[in-house]
Symmetry: C2
Subunit: 211 residues, 2 copies
DNA sequence: GTCTATAACAGGATAGAC
DNA sequence: GTCTATCCTGTTATAGAC
């Protein structure tokens, strides 16, 4: 979307006829910051313009679908980054411990050590019920569960239990972000990341003898 | 707040001079439903009036502080109910299994089987940063951790580990509600409640031999 | 205490110059 | 592509009758 086919041209145009004052990636990134802070309804066009350094009309020029399209592209971008930096290592085929370590580093970056909320949570409640975000959010959560389950299987878990554990991990991730925001401390998120290796690599010893 | 000192009088006044068409408790309950669905910014006065069956001006008569006061009283009411029905059993002194069972029933009621979001999450992001909700939310989350920790100690956990486990449980609670909303299924919440007794009453056998 | 009507404002979105 | 200026709907909030 946007000037995908003109990304090089827009560089050449800088300071010329129609200089693109802020790159598309930078705009998306700054919009994301606002949506993550205050959610969809809480984000005003004035605030989004302020954050990007563009005027409202300029934002509408880039996103003809208005605020909704901005949130959609922000969400798509975040999901893409997540797929590249979190899901890919989890779904890889190297040593589980190393794959997990890479995913943990990415998670720490993505949530800035626990100081940034999750878009999947912040965009879950717009008045637009069953709107354009619902499907993406659901798919993203399930893809993350799948990826963790894949890793757990590689770490030796039985398929059934790997899935349950993966659901627990995604639950803990989201919960730790809620608590970090609610308590004003990043400790819950940091504790979650610190516990992750143990949760994945050390299976409970007594429970896997039944099946 | 409100007509606390006139609760009986307001009944006698019904259909007389100033009939209170909807009870205070009922108004708070219906307002809570809206805030839990769409959050603070997402809730408009028109929607709140619609949900309560009152006109906007009538709502302003009852809540002179406007929407913010409504959210404050809704939050205070929910926290009060939580203290009576969830924290009290957890902090009680009967058999841990029975106390937990009662708390679980209350949690299931409170979140309607996982179909209702948590106000502590939904009110965490208003533009009013560090606003009137932050303190209550932080205190409520910490009180819940304390109560679970108290129960874990009663169930035989060591104090340090009881606290860590309690934090994990509150994290799981919040996370399961996020996932339930995000995936459109109450399964994550129901799984959380189903796992709770095991998480509290069955301590890990291998990890408590070090200290 | 509730209502209708309306004020005062902020919000999302657009027009058109450059 | 960006800007200033503006439109118009929806929002919060108030006035005043009953």
């Amino acid at each position: 979307m946007l000037s995908r086919f003109f990304s090089d041209r827009s560089i050449m145009e800088a300071r010329l006829a129609r200089p693109q004052s802020v790159s598309d990636g930078e705009v998306i990134s700054r919009l994301a910051g606002v949506f993550r802070d205050v959610g969809y309804e809480g984000a005003s066009m004035a605030q989004l313009a302020e954050a990007t350094g563009l005027q409202k009309a300029s934002l509408y020029h880039r996103f003809r679908g208005g605020k909704q399209q901005m949130a959609e592209e922000v969400l798509a971008s975040a999901i893409g980054w997540f797929a590249d930096n979190v899901l890919r290592p989890l779904n890889g085929d190297g040593p589980p411990a190393e794959r997990l370590a890479e995913a943990i580093r990415s998670l720490n970056d993505f949530y800035d050590g626990g100081s940034k909320a999750c878009l999947l949570n912040m965009l879950s409640s717009p008045r637009i019920e069953e709107g354009p975000f619902s499907r993406s959010i659901k798919d993203a959560l399930e893809a993350l569960v799948d990826a963790f389950a894949h890793l757990c299987v590689a770490a030796g878990w039985k398929r059934e239990e790997a899935r349950r554990q993966a659901e627990r991990l995604v639950t803990m991730l989201q919960g730790s972000l809620v608590l970090s925001r609610g308590t004003g401390s990043t400790a819950p998120f940091r504790n979650f990341l610190a516990d992750l290796p143990g949760e994945v690599l050390e299976r409970p010893s007594g429970t896997d003898t039944l099946e």
